[in-house]
């Protein structure tokens, strides 16, 4: 079980390679997972995800990339165990994620989704304490441990000062930090994020990815993030899973996956790929002659 480490400021970053040195065991194993969606069993499926495989270790960040409707979020739900695969399986520390009951799953897997509307007002600390729910009985009152974990989670994402604020009053970036803090309060092994940078300005996006990199190393989380941000994924991810129309085209380090021809084919736009100052690939959109 992870214990929440001492509070540290977001932005402190270690080199990505350090992640794999921290721990070498395979924690997440996605084995030939496929899925098909059809509104009723007699019809041909509207959407299929072909067999996809990859593995991730503790402390690693995996980015799932691809155009809209390519199956990124479906793959994330399959990993989370909320969808049952048509074939294959997802193992987290040897357990099939789909077979875990809801409470056990929530103790091991935390999901940060695109921002959702709260029905009634809640303060940030109340929201973060919700992350302790899977660790208690049905009618529990929060223990001193729960409160300490929630406090640390807020501090870890640099949101300690937001504790007493109403969720509705927070900016997009602040809210995203609090949502992330709730996921940390679950003390999971696997942290899943579905487009967490959506609606964030560039500074908040960089801040979030910096923070994730740090958390992955410090708390030994395995992080899987669905994103559209090619450059952020290239900068911070240890592995990239590239998906197009339900087909996993390539899995590997950003430097391996970010090939100009491949990315142009997937995203249907002229691109250039070069090495950035950090030694990681950087993708630029190339304007064509009509200035598109």
């Amino acid at each position: 079980m992870n214990t929440v480490a001492r509070p540290v400021e977001m932005g402190a970053m270690r080199s990505p390679g350090e992640a794999s040195r921290v721990n070498n065991e395979v924690r997440l194993s996605v084995e030939q997972v496929s899925y098909a969606y059809s509104p009723n069993p007699t019809q041909a499926p509207l959407f299929t995800l072909e067999a996809t495989s990859f593995q991730a270790r503790a402390g690693e960040i995996v980015a799932i990339l691809g155009p809209n409707a390519s199956g990124k979020s479906t793959l994330l739900k399959l990993i989370a165990g909320t969808l049952e695969p048509l074939s294959g399986r997802v193992l987290l520390n040897g357990f099939v994620t789909h077979s875990l009951n809801a409470r056990t799953r929530a103790q091991r897997i935390a999901m940060v989704q695109q921002e959702s509307q709260l029905l009634f007002p809640a303060r940030a600390w109340e929201f973060v304490l919700q992350g302790r729910h899977p660790h208690g009985r049905a009618l529990r009152f929060e223990s001193a441990t729960d409160i300490a974990v929630a406090r640390n989670a807020l501090a870890q994402v640099g949101a300690a000062e937001l504790s007493e604020r109403w969720m509705a009053e927070l900016s997009g970036g602040e809210k995203q930090r609090v949502i992330l803090a709730r996921a940390l309060a679950q003390q999971p092994l696997l942290l899943l994020l579905d487009e967490p940078t959506l609606h964030l300005d560039i500074a908040a996006q960089v801040d979030l990815l910096h923070g994730l990199r740090h958390l992955a190393v410090e708390n030994r989380y395995t992080v899987v993030v669905v994103t559209h941000e090619l450059n952020l994924a290239g900068e911070y991810a240890d592995q990239v899973v590239l998906i197009q129309r339900g087909k996993c085209l390539r899995v590997g380090a950003p430097g391996v996956v970010y090939q100009r021809e491949l990315l142009e084919q997937v995203f249907q736009t002229p691109l250039s790929v070069e090495l950035g100052p950090s030694g990681r690939p950087r993708v630029n959109v190339v304007a064509d002659r009509e200035g598109k």
């Binding site: 959702s116 009634f120 109340e126 529990r140 504790s163």
Partner: protein, 346 residues
């Protein structure tokens, strides 16, 4: 951070219990016959220590045989509707949901009326016949909430507006069936039924029915309370709640059945009393916050206080005539409902 502690929960409930006690005393005193506080206290103690037979005076009989049962019924009905409303609002993720708006009260009323119409044709023991109306109301309520729930679902998620519209339409459809049944009934029953439908607490009940009501309340409210932490997580959405370890199918089943039971029991003895299940949770949320571990018990007290006050005003404002309690709650509740609706749209 100020997480809820059991001491704070008890303190808040104790304050509300104190207010309810004061309201009950005022309600016992209020009415066409004046009663002194001393006589009231003496007779109350006699009832509590099972020496009710020693109450001789006329006013004593009025207070203990007419007003007290009516107040106790008001407490039961108010608490039941408020707890059911709180459960529906959290589960359906709709702040405007309540047994009345969702048509569940009408479903329960139809179930109760059908039971009343059918029972003379069945040769049942009196004890079983007493149970038939609450049972019919429960089944009517459960069937209605199931129908409204399916009407309000869109692509696997609950659509708030569709759900509300579905409830209103279902409610008016059921009201039409009730009208049809009532007009096909003859004479004296009609007036009684119409008055009952408007919501009133003057029904005299067998002692066994009282027991059924209170046991039903404890079972229903207790079952909903076991899901209080889960309902807190549902405020962020069904998917998020599932990711936080909420067993959604179980919570849904428990709250639907328990809230239908509470609504069914309340409607079977008092008709449709609107707005209590809607507004009381809102007021309590403003005072005590959105944590259902506090909200459910405080809403129960709040509902009881609201209904006892409404009924007391209803029977004292134009003496000797009595306004049905349902009319009183609607008079106060409808403007407040419109205010909430407009504030939500703003």
């Amino acid at each position: 951070m100020r997480p809820l502690t059991i001491q704070r929960l008890f303190l808040q409930c104790a304050v509300l219990a104190g207010i309810l006690f004061v309201v009950v005393i005022i309600a016992l005193k209020a009415g066409a016959v004046e009663v002194s506080l001393f006589a009231l206290g003496r007779d109350l103690i006699r009832v509590i220590v099972h020496h009710g037979g020693e109450i001789k005076s006329d006013y004593g009989l009025i207070v203990m045989n007419i007003r007290l049962p009516r107040i106790l019924l008001g407490i039961f009905v108010g608490a039941s509707l408020a707890v059911a409303g709180t459960g529906f609002q959290a589960l359906l993720r709709n702040p405007l949901a309540d047994p009345y708006v969702l048509g569940v009260s009408n479903g329960a009323a139809l179930g109760a009326i059908l039971a009343l119409l059918v029972s003379p044709h069945l040769s049942l023991l009196p004890a079983v016949a007493d149970l038939l109306t609450p049972l019919g109301a429960f089944l009517g309520a459960a069937a209605t909430i199931a129908a409204v729930y399916f009407l309000g679902r869109h692509e696997g998620q609950i659509d708030s507006t569709t759900l509300l519209l579905g409830g209103v339409i279902t409610g008016s459809f059921l009201a039409a069936i009730i009208m049809f049944l009532m007009t096909s009934e003859t004479g004296s029953n009609l007036r009684g039924m119409a008055y009952w439908l408007m919501g009133n607490l003057s029904t005299s009940l067998q002692p066994t029915v009282y027991w059924i009501l209170w046991i039903g309340f404890l079972l229903g409210a207790g079952a909903i309370y076991t899901t209080a932490s889960d309902l807190n997580l549902l405020l962020s959405g069904e998917k998020e709640a599932m990711h936080l370890g909420v067993d959604l199918p179980r919570v849904r089943l428990v709250v639907y059945i328990a809230a239908s039971l509470l609504t069914g029991l309340a409607v079977s003895v008092s008709g449709s009393i609107g707005y209590v299940g809607l507004l009381v949770p809102h007021v309590m949320r403003q005072i005590f916050g959105s944590d259902h571990r506090v909200l459910l018990p405080t809403a129960a007290f709040g509902g009881a206080i609201a209904v006892v006050i409404a009924d007391t005003i209803g029977r004292t404002v134009v003496p000797p005539a009595e306004l049905p309690v349902g009319a009183m709650t609607a008079l106060a509740g409808a403007p407040l409902f419109i205010y909430l609706l407009r504030r939500r749209m703003a």
